[in-house]
Amino acid sequence: MHAEHSIDEAGPKVYGMVAEFDDPDRIVAAAQKAFDAGYRKLDAYTPFPVHGLDHAVGFKKNMVAPLVLLGGLTGASAGFLMQYIAAVLHYPYLIGGRPLLSWPMFIPITFEMGILFAAFAAVFGMFALNGLPMPYHPVFNAPRFELASRDAFFLCIEAKDDRYDEVETRSFLEGLGAKQVSVVEA
């Protein structure tokens, strides 16, 4: 309410409009309706992963899996190459005529290195794609947003969306059964 007031007078930058829901199923339906109504710059904030919500807000390209595969392959090949260089090129050691490239003995370290790099890719890649760490985000200004990690579900339509309109978007969100709709400053 506070935010709304200041917009009328001076007009600080607006990040978007946030609607609060109290049920996970309701927010999936609301997000789907918003997407179907043509809104594209929208996101939902929930205390736990809600199945289908990512598709409802139009998120389809999850790049984490290919990244992890790439990480694993990088680690495994680097691990094998390291052992190859050590045992064949840098420090060849002939023991009873046994082959220098005794590859079965190199498998454990190759495997562990693959796992290690895949895990790095999964964790650091996921956080990087999510743009975290990011201590400040405008959506934290939404009223009651501290409940987004507890039991409230928020749908945000951003002001940069082409269809965003102070009045129309508000009445649209209210029509979806939101508990509360408010404007969020950037």
Partner: protein, 462 residues
Amino acid sequence: MAVVQNRLTDIDPQPPLLEPGHDYGTLTDKVGDIVDRKPHPRAWIVTMAVASLLLLLFLNAVGYLFVKGTGIWGINVPVAWGWAIINFVWWIGIGHAGTLISAILLLLMQDWRTSINRFAEAMTLFAVACAGMFPLLHMGRPWLFYFILPYPNTMALWPQFRSPLVWDVFAISTYATVSALFWYTGLVPDLATMRDRAKNKLAKIAFGMASLGWRGSARHWSRYEMAYLLLAGISTPLVVSVHSVVSFDFAVGIIPGWHTTIFPPYFVAGAVYAGFAMVLTLAIPIRKLYHIEDIITMKHIDNMAKVMLVTGLVVSYGYFTEAFFAWYSGNIYEKYMMFSNRMSGYYAWSYWALIFCNGFVPQFLWFKRIRSNVYALFAISIVVSIGMWLERYVIVVTSLARDFLPSSWGNYHGTIWDWATYLGTIGLFLFLFMLFIRFVPMVAIFELKALLYSQKHNGKAH
């Protein structure tokens, strides 16, 4: 997933994983309040005091070790490994249950892991920290530990990559790193919850930093869940590989009693066995102390007891196979090791104590009355922990003390410094664990809420 579960519950109605009457808010409060609770329960303070004393004992033992060298331990030639390696394998095995619960049970879609995975993972992390102490200290000059890592050096030397001891370095350090990443990734959304709940400014800042600004965006959750699933997917072969590599430390050697192919699977089963015993040892007092019996229900306790029974049977089968192949091989050294040495030699007490602890006592877990009695389960899990320690004692000591040549035989006993170091790591473990309980939510809050959500949905589907 849901279809299969519904069908199973139709056939065999199970007690609930969450006691009824919870909503998203009360679950958040239930777990979050444990951290915010003031003053903290007296039992926590007492345990912390004991843990701190044991930690001091550890620091003293290590300090004296640095001054005098590994001679203060009972190790000798031929038994150069002694308690240090026994304790190393014991701790690393305990850690494996945490990964099993968080990764393998996630892949198998076992909902009951949700209430216990967080603190089982913490247990893994701290157990690995304790395990890591032993090979380092056992080096004699631990400040030169980096000699075993591949790094560019003026001697132009590489580690011997064909050695299981070098594999071990890679396996254990990868395991410690991945466990820490897995644990922290699981923690981030809950740290955000703690940030949003915090009244105290300092706590808000600390949780705010640690939660990386998590805001629960649908896009973030989508990537998060994928990353978490893949971490579980890669942790599963990892945990199997780690204890297999640990068993290679023995199995690749030619010492009688070590040189067997049963070692990798039987070590992995033993690790899960010991780990579940430790999870029960921790879970039984914690759920009572913090009144979270509605989150860690008797269903969880019962399931853990069943896993313990199954892995205990696998381990017992391993003991049987060892004995059978010692006889069937026709090799005089293997036969001597098994029958004349382990079963009836100088260390026979340790072998039969091991069979009693790991083979006989867990048979009580067949009975539902035992599995629903937390006192009996607590006692059994302590016995299993002792049994698993004895198993490594039998493997390390009896084999090294009696190898091929009688002229190189020699007996071995741990000294008071072995005891001090061992008890000291228990102190380190408890110390870290108590800090964990005090400062971060010990049950995965967001996963509990997701569980509640899926339960509501399954209910509606009927």
